[in-house]
Symmetry: C2
Subunit: 94 residues, 2 copies
């Protein structure tokens, strides 16, 4: 699956994994620099791929929460060490 090669995908999976059930706005804040459309698309793709679940609450104001599915959790476990390694490397070379 080259979905992994989409921008922010790895980070999104890890962010959702770390923040548990998390709202759209929180994910957006966690990045700070991603357009609504891109993040929305990514969330959609991940949900579609069975990696994320979207829970929609019929409230006012509306609330939507994202969380990892079992498969998403599996992937997240694989991704975390990768992300740590990359960040560690960035520090070292910067």
């Amino acid at each position: 699956m080259d979905l992994l090669s989409r921008k922010y995908v790895i980070e999104v999976v890890c962010v959702v994994g770390a923040l548990g059930p998390v709202r759209y706005g929180e994910i957006e804040s966690a990045f700070g620099e991603v357009s609504t459309s891109t993040l929305s698309t990514r969330l959609d793709e991940l949900t579609d791929a069975g990696l994320l679940m979207r829970e929609r609450y019929a409230e006012i104001p509306p609330r939507v929460e994202y969380d990892l599915t079992d498969e998403g959790t599996e992937l997240c476990e694989l991704l975390k060490p990768l992300l740590r390694w990359v960040e560690n490397r960035d520090d070292t070379e910067g």
Copy 2:
């Protein structure tokens, strides 16, 4: 590093890791469907990032071998389970 998000990068790292010192043509064959320019660029980026080493032999005909650096090997170890998971998943859903 979003180099990881480039097409074929994960696969290239794993292929080089699996085939040991490997020649350009062999890598190309391992994919079968990647243009010279793209593969060449990828190899270049990875070498530049310190993940690959390029050994050039002054022979006729020319021979060039690629291999993982220590860091490349580290990354490869992180990537392998990921790749296996993805392939396994593809099988299941296909």
